[in-house]
Symmetry: C2
Subunit: 172 residues, 2 copies
Amino acid sequence: MTRREEIVDVAERLLERAGPGAVTMRRLADELGIQAPSLYKHVAGKSEIEAALQQRALQRLAAALEAAPDLPSLAAAYRAWALRHPRLYEIATRLPLARERLAPGVEAAAAAPLLRVTGGDLTAARALWGLAHGLVDLELAGRFPPGADLDAVWAHAMAERVAAEPGPGATG
Amino acid sequence: MTRREEIVDVAERLLERAGPGAVTMRRLADELGIQAPSLYKHVAGKSEIEAALQQRALQRLAAALEAAPDLPSLAAAYRAWALRHPRLYEIATRLPLARERLAPGVEAAAAAPLLRVTGGDLTAARALWGLAHGLVDLELAGRFPPGADLDAVWAHAMAERVAAEPGPGATG
DNA sequence: CGTCTAAGCTAACAGCGTTAGCCAGGAGAG
DNA sequence: CTCTCCTGGCTAACGCTGTTAGCTTAGACG
């Protein structure tokens, strides 16, 4: 394991344990037993660490969605992963996608599960992503009134999509 | 106009012109011709300014949606406003909602247009909000691949909703 | 044995939000 | 008129942030 990977590991642990505000260069260095400026021997700057975290988060999310066989279970898996890893989810979606720093294939791999359940329809997959992301993002930001029945909201939203979807074994 | 309102005005202008990174206490004070610590005579801290901006953004967004007669035009108005005021939109939705600082009725007023086009169905309104917010948020964050046909995505998403909606004059 | 590089170090800079404490000017009371 | 008190400025400073410059040490390699 390179020192760079080690840094990103520590950053990820720090992010999940103590929130984005805790991921500072000095704190990171502390955890590694070195001084903050020494980090720059391995990393160009903080934004590079963030980009690495973003890539990692995308891969984790994609992995969590891989097994979902159909739309409802995909939706459930998406929401469950985001709620279990809110900081990683935020960094995965809130940061502008640093495509030039992203390993090739990562973006496509993250999109694959969504594309699968829409039968390869790119437009439908994007609409589905928007829906899932929006619901999760608002929930994480505490924007729905306390007590709002979000299970019902997800069920409602997905039922509409299933109803509109032609699907391989179309009803009727 | 109180000095406090003046501060929030400057903050809003600064936010829209130069982005969230430019809204600093010192820069704010500069624009007003005073020193940064003097701001604290009128405002408890930066977070109070942000909360005021958030409230303002919610009101602006609500106003922009007010005139929309039906779901498609509401969707169009939502997206158009967000794209025209990306910083305000971000501060309106990304920040955890500071309900205790929000003037009463603001949250309800912002929700009203959505509720209207879902015929008062709270669950449907929330699902719709999630959809619209998700699409806008991903677009603003540059998450869709360059060249993606987002008009088509919106059309697709809204068509599904209209199809599923019972509506007053349901299609025979 | 000498040299070069990798990876650490300290000191420092500019900027951030924020606090403490001081001071001028104006309003209101006696 | 004068005294007092409050408002709204000010400067200096603290601790934090990311980052740079420049020095040093340890190890690898010819």
